[in-house]
């Protein structure tokens, strides 16, 4: 016996991503991470676990870091989403946090990195002058399998410095 499977429910949604408003029809169950990556082709957001632990999929929702693998895209309506591309998408002109990662050798394969960038970008607004210990705490919700963290911790402090310099200019 087989039962008939109908077409799955979809919704028309308006998603504000990196300052641009998109109108899309998406399945109700489609994850925000998948919509960003597949429908909007913003592949900078990565999926490492799809269960909310690794942080690779972190984006900013109204400036706050959230796991995009734990949200349905339909629930992101009415919010401002910022992905790593929204923080800086020009390799020639990286943002302060991105530059800090270059300076400190804070990445290797780069897969976890966008999640760190979005997390730290939000964090140093909140704490513009972190101690090393606070910096370590700030990134301790994101997994990286390659770099061993100490350069990432340095990158947090360096990013704060660069942001302060930028602000004073």
């Amino acid at each position: 016996m087989t039962e008939d499977i109908g077409t799955e429910p979809t919704s028309n949604i308006r998603l504000a991503v990196n300052g641009t408003l998109h109108e899309l029809e998406v399945p109700d169950r489609k994850l925000l991470s998948d919509v960003l990556r597949q429908d909007l082709e913003l592949t900078g957001t990565h999926v490492g676990c799809e269960h909310g632990v690794c942080g690779a999929c972190t984006v900013q929702l109204d400036g706050e870091p959230v796991r995009s693998c734990l949200m349905f895209a339909v629930t992101a309506q009415g919010h401002e989403i910022t992905t790593v591309e929204g923080i800086g998408d020009d390799p020639e002109n990286p943002s302060d946090v991105q530059q800090a990662f270059i300076d400190c050798h804070g990445l290797q394969c780069g897969f976890c990195t966008p999640g760190f960038v979005t997390t730290i970008d939000a964090y140093i607004d909140e704490n513009p002058n972190p101690t090393e210990e606070e910096a370590r705490e700030a990134v301790s919700g994101n997994l990286c399998r390659c770099t061993g963290y100490q350069n990432i911790v340095s990158a947090v402090c360096r990013a704060a410095e660069l942001r302060a310099e930028g602000a004073s200019q």
Binding site: V84, H105, S140, G148
Partner: protein
Amino acid sequence: MTTRLFGQKITRREDPRLLTGHGRYVDDVSGTAIAAAFVRSPHAHADILDIDVTGALDVAGVIAVWTHEDLPGQAAERLPMLIPHPSIVAPHTGYALARDHVNFVGEPIVMVIAENRYIAEDAANRIEVEYSFREAVVGVEASREGTRIVHEGMKDNVAAHIVQDVGDVDAGLEGAPHVLELDLEFERSACMPMEGKGVVARWDPGEESLEVHSSTQTSTGLRAVLAAKLEIPLTRVEVITPDVGGAFGVKINHPWPEELAVACAARALETTVKWTEDRREHFISSAHERAQTQWVKVGFDDEGRILGLDVKFWHDNGAYLPYGVIVPLNTSTHIMGPYVIPAFRVEYWSLYTNTVMVTPYRGAGRAHAVFMMERTMDAIAAELGLDRTEVRLRNFVRDFPHPMGLRMQDGAEGCIDSGDFVTSMDKLKSIVGWDEFETYREQARTEGRRVGIGLACYIESTGAGPYEGGHIEVESSGRVNVWTGLTTHGQAHATVFAQIVADELGVPLETVHVKTGDTRKLPYSVGTWGSRGAVMAGNALHLTAKKVRQKALRIAGESLEADPEDLEIDEGMIQVKGDPSASMPLAAVSVLSNPLRYAFDESARAATQFAKDSAEDEPSIGPGEQPGLEEQEFFSPLRSTVANGMHAAIVETDPETADIRILRYCVVHDCGPMVNPLVVEGQVHGGVAQGVGGALYEKMAYDADGQLLNASFMDFLMPFASEVPHVETDHLETPSPLNPLGIKGAGEAGTIPAATAIASAIEDAEGIPIRSMPLDPSTLWHMRTNHAAGELNRSR
């Protein structure tokens, strides 16, 4: 003169792209492809009686459902045994889709192809498989007992067995004033790269060709195996490996069942099919590593000098053996470490179990070897009441090269080609403050704190052959394109190889662009694994650049009417040494090297001033020459280089909760001259982090039925920033005589001794013998209780 780039801490050239979302990982490729999902076995050991796929076919959006019967020709045969070895007595490999029988939880049985992954998974959930269960064989002990057998037709579970020896070990042990025996256990963990595996296969019906993007560590190997399995000419298959989100060994096996099944589907459906592994799939169906049960018997004199070492170990290789015995073989050949051991025997059994197969993980097999040898060194020191560093110093190899008398994974006899272990030990003792530790311990004690110090030394055969190649072309714009057949997963190839090439060619770093993992340009390559990238491709590119340089100087010499010997290249300008007035850009040489008469660009027009009228009676391209400033060269070493290092850790254990904290972690590392110290440090840091994971957290928790109980990041604990200590490093650069650049591998250095160094420190803090890793607080707590009850002794 331009400064030499080799040895400089140059920031990575791949970073700006990766940091701004422009990385291109396999799941970023072809977002419009149709998707595959797999039905996997929920049982560890069972016969498949029936597969009912009808429910899946009703799901809207499903395109195809494949079982083993749908696999064509060679693709339906068993997956290859990639690296045969004389010790393998029973080579069992699986199928792309299981045939009649499953041997581990996670084994792929059915492939569903649908419009997208969501639908493919819906459909997969509706497929019903009927099984007849068999009892599972889980763990070394059950396998060794052999009361239940994994593979039908075998009388036991032994996949491979070998004995290697040097000298007369029985005599060595008999004549020894002291003999100790140790029983040891080493963890089962996994590489766990942040990016899982993935494949995108595109069939071009017009060309009858297959283009595959895969997150593999060996695109050339995958290409060859897909051509063979799909029975199509090699020239009609290309494999491209884009950015890879970490690998650490697990992406070396090929083909993975999914790579083959998806490629077959792409051809059958004449379209592009994609599969991206999810994390649960990665846990239950991608390879694990490490589990071993070990036994050591050592004989030594009153000074702690080893006279004989007898070792046996049992290695859990999981359900299949597609990658052969590299892991246990490496264990067996690395046990002697940096020590002179006059008589040595090692015997191993590699055993089948009903669990995910075991293939190399960063430090492949060597971490286990270090555990055996270094736990033994500590036990000797304890027995004789000697300082642990002193016992090691008395046993160190001091003359190089030091032949080891054992056949290594590359088939050649192992030989420690260079090193200075005494100096390394001095450095380590000084950074960690070894001699002052007792004072610190006393002070900690008065504060009610319990601390311990430990160390571990290791050697690592790196830069295994047989070869690696390079391809360099200088465009008429002056841009230098560099190809290596290697794939890259965070090793900074785009930076370090550019440094090597820029040095040799005398061009600015910015003009050099490195491409990796694309079989279209360099179909001959081995792969990125075993700390071989810099040694193998680095030297190959160095040799290739030399060849390009020679050609450039010859052509320039003709135009400048100078002896090539008198020419040099600096900042992309070729000039007569000491006479910059007679010079021409390398870009112009590129134009001259190709006697094509079209002036496409500025350099071409500029080059006309250097062009000489060709002789009427000679062809434009002489015999044996090729147009273009472009060369290919290969490097093939005599044997592996042997890198080495020493780690020390200081830990604190909580007297009540048995919580373990690493207070200090120090590394002295010798990989020969460092191409880019920033990158080497980064490799060490990352390696240590994985080692810390292996020491304290990571463990595959299988139950007796072969169910993996911790198949998520919630339950399989990988260290976050809060768990990984700051790593203090120092380096020694003893050049290897085995390659032109003198370099040795560094990729696995951080991981290999970490669990052992931490074991040593915990033992020192607790006064309880640590014979098994990983060690979590609750295990340590129970050990304390048992120890207090007199059940655990310092040595057996």
